[in-house]
């Protein structure tokens, strides 16, 4: 059978052009929040911008934010790498169980973690409490990629290091750790961005960050220049963090060179060390899962059957599910052109477009929401306070999540099959639809699920943008905890956890599956 040439044929260039157009539309939309901040900065005028940005309050917030990042990220790395090493590379008893439990905290929304802690220790507040809860809520973002990377490391390198006379510790630090660099950088970036964006966790623990301060401003003066300027500083922090990650990642190659497949690594025998080794995952699970579940159980028990009001809990549940599914599908559809392009037609343009898709997801929900509130109320009133705008916010915030599943599965669909289909008389569109899309369907489903998980636990954008009468589990939970009605809030927290569980499971399975790539 004759294959079409590898250089793009005119026909496929046309096909690319339409996909590029679609991806460009999404990219342009994703530039809207950033463009708005730039516009409002210019519109506000330099003197006022300077007065709003260079003041002591912003300094305080900056100090808080930096301290939070510098304390939380290294601790998360330490915890995640240790746990990953224990579960993947040692003969620790129950490795599989510990590995599950290390990923499971993702099913508990960050602000439910802090709700649990604050009701357990009411005096918790400030930096150290913030660091503690942040580490517990977010370390799985590091654990998952690090464990996946450890699983696929080629033990030959370690053997070589050992044969050159390095002891186990030095083998770890000189042969293993450097190979985890990508996973650690990626996970740290994800956590770092979450710390910048998180709102509910820090309000409950009474620690001021840019996100909480922006919401304070929003509640005091709606979309004032002061709020937007805080948003501008926050965006700057995000971009800075992206930049740091690029520098830290470096551009060394980590792939196995040459043919063949790595054999699975041997598990190191722990010996007497097994006791402290088992204690670590047990303590971690007790703090990350035990505390939320015990607290929830206690509030649910105290509330009894009365708090399970089908009219309010049921309607919030239904609205959350509808929004999560609609947003998940929309975000995944919006990400499809870009995901396809990035696999099938890499190039400079593609890299720029892809950067647009990724950067917007790193913006905090509060910034995107503030931009969309201001734009719709000032310029496009028909879209103001509609589901369309709320869903647009979700699409923008969760584009990178949608890209993750899609890219991997499109990459797994061999282009040769597409070409063979064309050689057999299918049009390019038919070939993509009948071959690639079918093969990529599991990735599509995974992407929808990932986005839906995000939407289920999303708070600030939903609070600020949702149409009148909308009440999701997260917003309802939030308004009840604000009145310190922890008992009535418990069913909503419980439902959020229940909804997130299968999605977390999927994430875990997915991380195992993609370990081979």
């Amino acid at each position: 059978m004759r294959m079409p040439p590898l250089t793009a044929a005119p026909r496929s260039r046309v096909r690319h052009a339409s996909v590029v157009a679609l991806a460009s539309i999404v990219a342009l939309l994703s530039l809207v929040p950033l463009g708005f901040i730039v516009w409002i900065t210019i519109d506000t005028g330099w003197t006022e911008v300077a007065a709003l940005v260079f003041r002591s309050r912003v300094g305080d917030l900056l100090v808080n934010t930096v301290l939070l990042e510098v304390c939380t990220i290294p601790l998360s790395i330490l915890l995640a790498v240790t746990l990953a090493w224990l579960t993947e590379r040692t003969d620790i008893p129950g490795a599989r169980l510990w590995s599950w439990l290390a990923a499971a905290p993702l099913a508990v929304p960050a602000f439910v973690h802090s709700y649990a802690w604050v009701s357990l220790v009411p005096s918790m507040r400030g930096l150290w409490s913030g660091v503690l809860v942040s580490v517990l809520a977010y370390f799985p973002f590091l654990y998952l990629p690090v464990a996946a990377a450890l699983r696929r490391l080629d033990p030959a390198i370690e053997d070589a290091a050992a044969s050159l006379g390095l002891g186990p510790w030095r083998v770890f630090f000189r042969a293993i750790l450097p190979q985890l660099r990508l996973a650690i950088c990626g996970g740290s970036l994800l956590i770092g961005l979450h710390l910048l964006a998180e709102y509910g966790l820090y309000v409950m623990i009474r620690f001021d960050t840019f996100s909480t301060a922006i919401v304070d401003q929003f509640q005091s003066a709606y979309n004032s220049p002061a709020a937007n300027m805080l948003g501008g500083v926050l965006v700057f922090c995000c971009l800075l963090m992206l930049g740091i990650e690029v520098l830290a990642r470096g551009n060394e190659r980590y792939a196995r060179i040459g043919s063949g497949a790595a054999r699975p690594a041997d598990r190191r025998r722990l010996g007497w060390f097994v006791v402290p080794a088992v204690a670590l995952p047990i303590v971690t699970a007790a703090l990350t899962l035990g505390v939320p579940f015990v607290t929830l159980a206690r509030w649910l028990y105290l509330g009894g059957a009365d708090v399970w009001r089908i009219d309010t809990v049921g309607s919030a549940l239904l609205q959350t599910i509808l929004l999560a599914i609609a947003g998940g599908l929309l975000a995944t559809i919006a990400a499809t052109p870009m995901a396809w392009l990035s696999v099938r037609a890499p190039g400079r343009l593609q890299r720029i477009l892809e950067a647009c898709h990724y950067y917007v997801g790193s913006l905090p929900g509060v910034v995107v929401a503030l931009a969309l509130v201001s734009i719709t109320v000032r310029l496009i009133l028909p879209l103001y306070q509609t589901f369309a705008t709320l869903l647009l916010a979700y699409v923008l915030l969760f584009l990178p999540r949608a890209m993750v599943g899609l890219r991997a599965s499109i990459a797994q669909a061999p282009v040769e099959l597409e070409r063979a289909a064309m050689a057999l008389g299918r049009t390019p569109a038919q070939a993509v639809r009948q071959i690639t899309m079918r093969l990529a369907a599991p990735g599509f489903a995974a992407s929808v699920a990932l986005v839906a998980l995000g939407i289920t636990n999303e708070l600030t954008a939903t609070l600020m943008l949702s149409p009148n009468g909308t009440e999701t589990l997260a917003t309802k939970f939030w308004s009840l905890t604000s009145e310190i009605d922890y008992v009535s809030a418990a069913p909503y927290a419980f439902m959020m956890v229940v909804l997130s569980l299968p999605l977390t499971l999927l994430l875990y399975v997915q991380s195992k599956r993609t370990a081979g790539q």
């Binding site: 009411p122 005096s123 401003q217 005091s220 003066a221 002061a226 559809i333 000032r378 310190i484």
Partner: protein
Amino acid sequence: MTFSFSHLTSALALAAGLAVAPMMAHAAESDGIVVYNAQHETLTQAWADGFTKETGIKVTIRNGSDMQFANQIVQEGAASPADVYLTENSPGMALVDANKLFAPVDAATLAQVPETFKAADGNWVGVAARSTVFAYDKTKLKEADLPKSLLDLADPKWKGRWGASPAGADFQAIVSALLELKGEDATRAWLKAMKENASFYKGNSVAMKAVNAGETEGAVIYHYYWFGDQAKTGENSKNVSLHYFKNQDPGAFVSISGGGVLASSQHQKEAQAFLKWITGKGGQAVLRDGNSFEYAVGNGEASNPKLVPLSDLQAPKVEPSKLNSKKVTDLMTEAGLI
């Protein structure tokens, strides 16, 4: 892989359907009224339930805070989806009124409330009231140690000993009263001292909880958080007592929760009926009998008997329409409090 493209298309159709369905449901609800609610959610829900039960008119509530909604309504202008705006305090009402966005309140409704609890121009009406207090840790402070005036809290001897919730509309209303009574310079100085002296909490109930837990000796809040907690478990207020400043001090400020009908509302009749209901017998009875512990403001309507009577509070005279919210948030931003 059995997942076919037709499944995908039906999934897309489903997505579109799902996205549209809630909007349709939303459109169907537009027969009723939309309330922008900055009052406590539970209180307004009780009002809405009572009103709907009596009149059959549906009420959709959007929850937020005083100044957020006031500024929001100003920006929305004639296109505002809101029919009624309810606040905890009056500066938000004053801001909307200054932008001429209220329709005059029906005379019959205004007649239900005494002069002191409504706007002089009759464009909004008081629906409830609340008193400023200094909630203090009774295990640490004695009567003699208490501040005589709100202004005393600026004294360095109070450094690190009191708290408040500066981002909340409640506290900002107190500052606006201070501004009206003592002027801009005094207010600026007081806020600056506050930044030095006070601990900051998110919400009055959280501030009270901190006093109870011994984290701070006192907090400037409104009275009913204490009564509300006492009526429930008392868990967050068992060590706390209330100090009323009295003597027309800025700290004795009684804040008026207001309600108004937006001029842009397409449901004037229903919206006016809602205001009439909450300021009337039914609505004020919710204040008397329920767990909100805010003061009733209707003519001859009794407040909850557990409260210190309104007439004993010796509140300073402040014309509610003069309370300036923009100036307050600017001053507080300047002081680094928000």
